[in-house]
Structure formats: structure tokens, C-alpha cells
Amino acid sequence: MRNKAANWILAILVLALCAMSSVAQTAQATPPPPTAPHLTVFPKPVEKNLPNGLRVIVIPRTEMPLVTAQLLIKSGGEVDPTDLSGAADMTASLLTRGTSTKSATQIAEAIEALGGTLNAGAGWDVSTITTGVMAPRIGSALEIMADVARNPNFKDEEIERLRRQTLGGLRSALATPGSIARFVAARVVYRDSPYGHLLGGTPESLPRIKREDIVKIHSMYYRPDNAILVIGGDITPANGFELAQKYFGDWQNPPNALPKLQITTPDSTASGRRILVIDQPAAGQTAVLAVRTAINRGNPDYFRGIVANAILSGYSGRLNWEIRVKRGLSYGAGSSLDTRRSAGSFMASAQTKNVSGAEVASLTLAEISKLATGELLDSELSTRKASLLGGFARSMETTGGVVGQFGSLAMYGVPLDEINSYIASVQAIKAADVKSFAASRLNADSTSVVIVGNAKDFLPDLQKRFSNVEVISVADLDLNSAGLKKTVSKN
């Protein structure tokens, strides 16, 4: 693969026309210009609330006889008790591993006999159960989904099995430079707040999680007034609502009120900035991240933020252009804006040969800095918007993608109609908006750097470029707190 997160287009064409029409004259030597744009229609959701408070959204799409359904619980890893990182993810993962009437194997056999899939897990702000099947079998799939959401039995045997599997996966992740860097970055940005810990748990926290912790999370958060059911694909709204009522209609809310969670994350500051090296001598490549706080999903600057990020990210975004295309230093460089319910972060990333680690860190920060202080021509802005909008449109080519997009809006309480105003909202962003966002939210001087690799190859160079470089050996890494270093009791 030549790389890059692929993304997709459409009605962007208006500005694309401007970009192209000046070129084509002679047929062969220059590209022929575009013809008239074709119109795009986004799928239309229909929704209703069941009497128990469950919000049901159906998005019909009839091209393929497939249906994807997702139950979203509006609570995820952020509800993990301190010291029990990974509890919410274990809770979600255990749903499909046994109910009051079916064993883990019987659940797998039932869904797979339909040709379908059933996956559950926790993210930040959300836990999900997702099923995808051929359209005529969606009733059976929803019956299984309702059973696992409502009646998990959390057998000790399954808890131990999952714990061992999760610890095994963690061993691999903690041997991978890119994964280590992301784990460390979360602690650097969110520190000891609930977003700072590992979603899947740490080698220390996983053994501490008990059955009662899991049962408690399930009983507190898995309830219809904290849930959304999104069904997309070859199904009518009437049929979708009927199935929702049949399998979730008698799901009761517990008498206690839903706990409210407040997460506060202090903004990244220049004085709090860290230049942090995790020394992994066995690393075959170095992972470089630049990371800082940004905005939450509900922030009015959301569209300014995603357009600013699009200038930096993507194949022809500034980071990949400078690091890969111009200098051949990486297979791919990019960035992302992670907008959560109560906070958010910005992260730029690339992997490079160990000896180039310091150079890539400097290049990354320089591009972040230039976004606020350098020139941004309308020609660049319009092409990056086109790329952003194309990706948005392509994300809705599949039933899974459609369900994902609408589910994400619904869980953050964003009106579903944002899908239809998305293009206009992006197009309305001006160069001055991007620059002011970059200056106020993406200041490079308060952006921290995390580098995971074989430090002896890049540390001297890095120390010339930055003062206050911290070095932690991967063997001493402690992901359970923002200090990140094991306090070794010498005896």
C-alpha cells in the first residue's frame, strides 16, 4: 500500500471546479476539466424514543441486503474507578461471553450461524455492542444483542479468561513503539484525570478488577435512559422500531439516578510542557508524537478545529508533505483532533528510523507553529476542505459507516441534522478562523513531545534541540500515573 487513511468526497465540487478550470486547454498535455457536478444525497435518519427512554434511530439504505445495528451506552472508560483502569472495557467485552441463558460459545455459535458478527467494547464516553448481518436476519441478531446487553452473567471463569487474554494483548502493545507512545501521550495530556488512563487497563490494574466492580458498572450505566440504538441498512423505519420495541421495550431503568460525571482537564501550558523519551533499545523504529489539549465535541470551535487539523493531516497535509514527501523520513505523518464529551486533545504522529527521531520531532512542532503564524492561502484551504469533506462522504458508503456517523452525533447530543449542514459548516471556515484556532488552541510552545525508540540513536540530537528532555527506560515505565516512572524501592 502506498499508505494513508483514505477518505472520500462529493459536493465539494463547487470549489474543486475553481481549482481546476484554469488548466485544461489542449487535450493531451493538460488534464481535461471536470464536467458538471453530480449531486449527493445523504441518508435520512428517522427516530423515536421508546417509553423507557431508549432512543432509536433508523437509517434506511437499500443498496445492499445488509443491516448494521449498534447499541450505544453513553458511558465508557472514563467511568473506570481510580486504580481499576480497564474495568469498563472488561464489562463491555464480557457481555458477549455469557448470559443467564446462553454460554459464551452458544452466543458465538448463534450469531455466526446467521453469518453475522457481534462485537462489544468500551471507548471513551461510550460502550458499544455492534452487530452486522444479512438484512433478513436482523431480528435474530437484535434478539441476541438485547440478551447480551441486558442479561450478562459475568461468570468468574469468563472474567479470568478475558483477563488473561487482555494481559496477553497488552504484552504485545507494550512492545510496540507506536502503542507505547499513545499510552504515554494520554498521561501527558490528561494526567491523572479519567481520560489519562489506559482504556484497556494496565498490567497492574487488570488483576485488581473483581466481578463486583464489573457488575456495578453494568448496573449503573447499562440502562435504557443511557442508551441509543442505531439501525442502518436495508430495513424500514417501521420494522426497525417494531424490532426495537420487541427486544428492548420491556428493558427497565433502575430506580437510582444516572451518575453524573464531571471531568476537568487543565489546558496544556508552556511551563507544563514535557519532552519525554521512552527508551526502548529493541525498537526497530522510533514513534514520534506531539500532543496537547484541544477542544471537546460540544465546543463552538469544532468546525474551525477540524479544518485546522485537515491543513496539517492527510496525504497532502503539511505534516506528511514535509516529513514524507519532501524528506522521505516516514511512511506517513498526520494528526488528529480527538473531541470527547468533557475535553479533547490534538495529536500529531509519525514513525521514522531511530536516528531521525529528533529531526521529525522538530519538523512536527515547526508545522504546528506555522499554522498559527505562517501564511494560509485560500487555494490551500479550499483543497484541504475538499479532502476533509471527501473523507466525510466516503465514511458513509457502508452501512457500518452510516451507523458510526449517526451514532457518534447521537451520543454527543449533536442534532442529527448536522450531517446535512456539515458541508456548509466546513465551507464557512476562513483562513483567519484556522489561524486564530491554531493560535489559541494549538500553540506549539505548550505542545508536549513523546518519542519512543532506541534513545542512543537520537538523544544527543534531541538534547541539542530541546532543553529539559526527560528519559524513562521502557522497563521503568509506569502507566498508572502521570509521573510515568516506577518509583523503585531500593532494597
Binding site: A16, P31, E63, E109, E112, A113, G178, Q351, K353, G400
Partner: protein, 465 residues
């Protein structure tokens, strides 16, 4: 020579039954038009107005197996160079014509073919046909761009092989499994061979393999058929078919004559790996469908045999997979598993072999077979949700299976597989004499007496062709 009447003679409209029914589900057929230009370029097109976009897919029938001697990884490096300049396009102009207008592009180098693709707003179809014709007919390359892109490919090597803890394990699979066929050289190559590549190699490779009679152009999406034909003629018909012969790999992988065992050691191995590989037939073989069905029954989903046995019940393995890696000239049926922490690879191997024996000793149940067929139908529907997925399926049928109609008949082949077929292919291919075993272990476990790991040496250099 653009003679429309002549062109039409070689074009066919396929009007198959609209749908074939599987259970209660109807599988939409891919209705394609098939024409071949006088210069040999095959053009397959499918009208699909579900989104206002078009996907262009250009398949070149040249892949990693065609890497020149001492240039492992070259076909893939070359693929990257195809995004640089042409006579009338500056470097990265392909991105200007796709990404900048909301589209995307990419390419993939497989063992047997190299595929370039872009999805674009439908009104850019003509523009991109021009651009694809440009890089087929008049690729140019300068030393600076070549070296910079080669450095990118070397980072891709590090990112996929050296950085992930299991990268070297998967790298070892082709290197150790094939004896004679150039499939033994991993498509990503080796740093040494990539460093040895030159601009001259690029020009020679383009002249040899990038020609209309070695290409299949696939267009799927929202377009007008007549207009497409006109544009294809305008931009592609004048590209000459060279008189040079088109070289083909002509190596038969010899039958295996006994078990071989390989121990690979790497610096960063959190979970030990075990692979069993069995020489298998080509993707065109009549046994291909039964082998694929066997791989689904063995390892697709948590109710599959390997998950149930190795991961769930015995808890020996963190993961266990079976795959029918069937290629154009020959194939490999593979088992890969990572031992759970503290478990021995020997026990994982024994458990995998017990599952093989079970498959050979008794037919799979009717329920297992039905389940696998449902999983395959659902997977195929998912693949065909996007125009890119549809075009990939059509290209694979036309170029690798030798008949575009296989895009619609492949599912029937899979549906007609019986339990007896699966038992038969398990007995035929998964034999003791046809088994190679690879263990992937931490460097610290290497015996003091053993020599250096020659994996990288084995991966580079020439292959008997």
C-alpha cells in the same frame, strides 16, 4: 487508430440473472461491460449510481514475483514511483487531481498484480482517465524523487517489519515456505536490495511490464457508458502495444518431500509464534473453494474450531488463524498462532496438528458448513458495499482468475462445497510430508551454538526464475 465499429465487435454486455438467492438473501450481481481495445487494453465497467462518485482501478499483471534478480521489493518500490512525474504531470499531481477535489487514491502491490485506484467525484472521470493514460504511456523519473521515495519505502519496511513485535514472524513465512518460486521473496523486499535499485531499473521495469496488453482498466460508479467509451478511446487507444515479449515467471514450486522446521529469533518477542505452512494449489484450482471453506470453518469467529479449541478451551494460544493464501501460480495453506503467555510453542503446535487430524478424520457437520457459507455470503456483501470493493472483486476475477464472470460465479463455487470436499482437501494437502513449521522466539532463547539468523539474507537477492 480509433475505430469505434471495430471496438464494438469485441465488446460484450453481460446480462446475467439479476440476483442469485442464498437463503433468504439475494446477492446482487455485478453487471459489467467487457471490451478490449486493439492495443490489448481490457476495459471493464459497471454503472452504479448509488453515490455520485467513480472508482477507477487499473490492474497491471505484474507483481512482487516479478521483482528482478537482486531487487527484491522492486515491484512495490516501482508502484510508489508511479505517483511521481509523467511527461505532462509534475510529481504528486495525482494527488492534486484526486485528494484536492475530495477524492482519494492509493495502490497495492500483490504477489501477482499491482493495482492503482482512485475514487473521485463522478465529474472528474475524464480527468483521471487522462492521468492514468499518462502514467501508463509516459512515466518519467528523476534521481532526486526516486531516492526520496525509496527512503519512504524503507520506512515502510521498518514500520511493517521492524517496529511491530510480530513483523519478522510474518516476514519469515514466505521466506521459509517457498523453495524455488519467487514468492519466497517478501514483497516489501530488503533494505539492501532496495538500496541497490536505480532509476534505470525503473525505466526498464516500466518498459517491460507497463503496457496496454498487460493492463485492465476498471471503472465502477456514476457515469454514462457512451461517454466513458469515447474517453477511453481518446486517451488510451493511441498507446502502442510494444513488440517486446512479455516475460512471465515460469517456475513450478516443487512438491515438498518431508517436514522442515525453522527457528526464528527476534529482539522483541512478547508472545511466541508458531506457523505451519502447507504447499497448496493455485487460486484457479478446483480445490480452491474447499480450501477457503476449510479456513473459514477453522478460524472465522469465536465459534470456529481453532478459537474454541486453542484459545477458549485449552487456553494455549492468544490467537489462532488458518488461511488459504492461494496465489496465481501456487498457494500456501497456513496456520499461525501466538502462544498465550507462559505456554509452550510445542503445545500450540500439537494442538494445531490435532485440529488438522480432526478435519481429516471426519467430515465437518452440516451446521458448520452452513454457518461458513453464511459467513462468506455476508463477507462478500460487505466487500461490495463500496465501488472500490466491487472493482477489486471484478479485477481479481478478470486478472487473477482469468475470467471476469467469476465475480458472479465464485459464490456458487463456494456454496457447492460439500463436507466430503473439505475432508478430501484436508487429507490431500495438510499432510505430514507437506508441512513446514516455523517457531518465532525471543533472541534470548537462541542456542549459543547456533549461527546467525539468515532470514534477511534469505529474503534478498535472486530467485531461480
Amino acid at each position: 487508430m480509433k475505430r469505434l465499429t471495430l471496438l464494438l465487435i469485441s465488446s460484450v454486455f453481460i446480462t446475467a440473472a439479476v440476483c442469485a438467492a442464498y437463503g433468504q438473501t439475494k446477492m446482487p450481481q455485478v453487471k459489467f461491460r467487457d471490451r478490449t481495445l486493439p492495443n490489448g487494453l481490457r476495459v471493464l465497467s459497471v454503472i452504479d449510481k448509488s453515490s455520485p462518485t467513480v472508482t477507477i482501478n487499473v490492474w497491471y499483471h505484474v507483481g512482487s514475483k516479478d521483482d528482478p534478480d537482486h531487487r527484491s521489493g522492486f515491484a512495490h518500490l516501482f508502484e510508489h514511483i508511479m505517483f511521481k512525474s509523467t511527461k505532462n504531470m509534475k510529481a504528486e499531481m495525482m494527488d492534486r487531481l484526486t485528494e484536492d477535489v475530495g477524492g482519494n487514491n492509493n495502490a497495492t502491490t500483490q504477489d501477482d498484480a499491482t493495482i492503482y485506484y482512485e475514487t473521485i467525484p463522478a465529474n472528474y472521470l475524464e480527468t483521471l482517465l487522462w492521468a492514468e493514460a499518462e502514467r501508463l504511456a509516459s512515466l518519467t523519473v528523476d534521481d532526486e524523487n526516486f531516492k526520496s521515495e525509496r527512503a519512504v519505502v524503507e520506512e515502510e519496511f521498518r514500520q511493517s517489519i521492524l517496529a511491530p513485535p510480530n513483523g519478522r514472524f510474518f516476514y519469515a513465512m514466505d521466506v521459509r515456505s517457498w523453495n524455488a518460486h519467487p514468492y519466497k521473496r517478501p514483497g516489501i523486499g530488503s533494505i539492501e536490495d532496495l538500496d541497490a535499485a536505480t532509476v534505470d531499473d525503473v525505466i526498464k521495469f516500466h518498459n517491460t511490464y507497463y503496457r496496454p496488453d498487460n493492463a485492465t482498466l476498471i471503472v465502477v460508479g456514476d457515469f454514462d457508458q457512451k461517454q466513458l467509451d469515447t474517453w477511453v478511446d481518446k486517451y488510451f487507444a493511441s498507446i502502442a502495444k510494444p513488440n517486446l515479449p512479455l516475460p512471465r515467471v515460469n517456475v513450478t514450486e516443487p512438491a515438498r518431500t518431508g517436514e522442515k522446521r525453522f527457528m526464528e529469533y527476534a529482539p522483541n518477542v512478547p508472545l511466541k509464534g508458531v506457523a505451519l505452512t502447507f504447499l497448496a494449489p493455485s487460486s484457479k484450482s478446483d480445490d480452491a473453494a474447499a480450501l477457503r471453506m476449510a479456513s473459514v470453518i477453522l478460524s472465522q469467529g469465536r465459534s470456529s474450531r481453532l478459537y474454541q479449541s486453542l484459545v477458549y478451551q485449552q487456553q494455549l494460544a492468544a490467537s489462532a488463524n488458518a488461511g488459504a493464501d492461494l496465489r496465481e501460480d501456487a498457494g500456501m495453506f497456513t496456520f499461525t498462532s501466538f502462544a498465550a503467555n507462559g505456554k509452550k510453542p510445542e503445545d500450540v503446535e500439537a494442538a494445531l496438528r490435532a485440529e488438522i487430524k480432526k478435519l481429516q478424520d471426519a467430515p465437518v457437520s452440516a451446521a458448520e458448513l452452513e454457518k461458513a457459507k453464511n459467513q462468506i455470503v455476508t463477507g462478500q456483501l460487505r466487500q461490495r458495499e463500496t465501488s472500490l470493493g466491487k472493482s477489486n472483486a471484478l479485477g481479481r476475477a478478470a486478472v487473477l482468475l482469468g475470467d471476469p464472470n467469476r465475480v458472479n460465479t465464485e459464490l456458487d463455487r463456494l456454496q457447492s462445497v460439500t463436507a466430503a470436499d473439505i475432508q478430501r482437501v484436508a487429507q490431500k494437502y495438510l499432510t505430514d510430508n507437506n508441512r513446514y513449521v516455523i517457531y518465532y522466539l525471543p533472541e534470548s532463547e537462541r542456542p549459543k551454538t547456533s549461527g546467525r539468523n539468515t532470514l534477511t539474507d534469505a529474503a534478498k537477492g535472486g530467485a531461480s526464475r
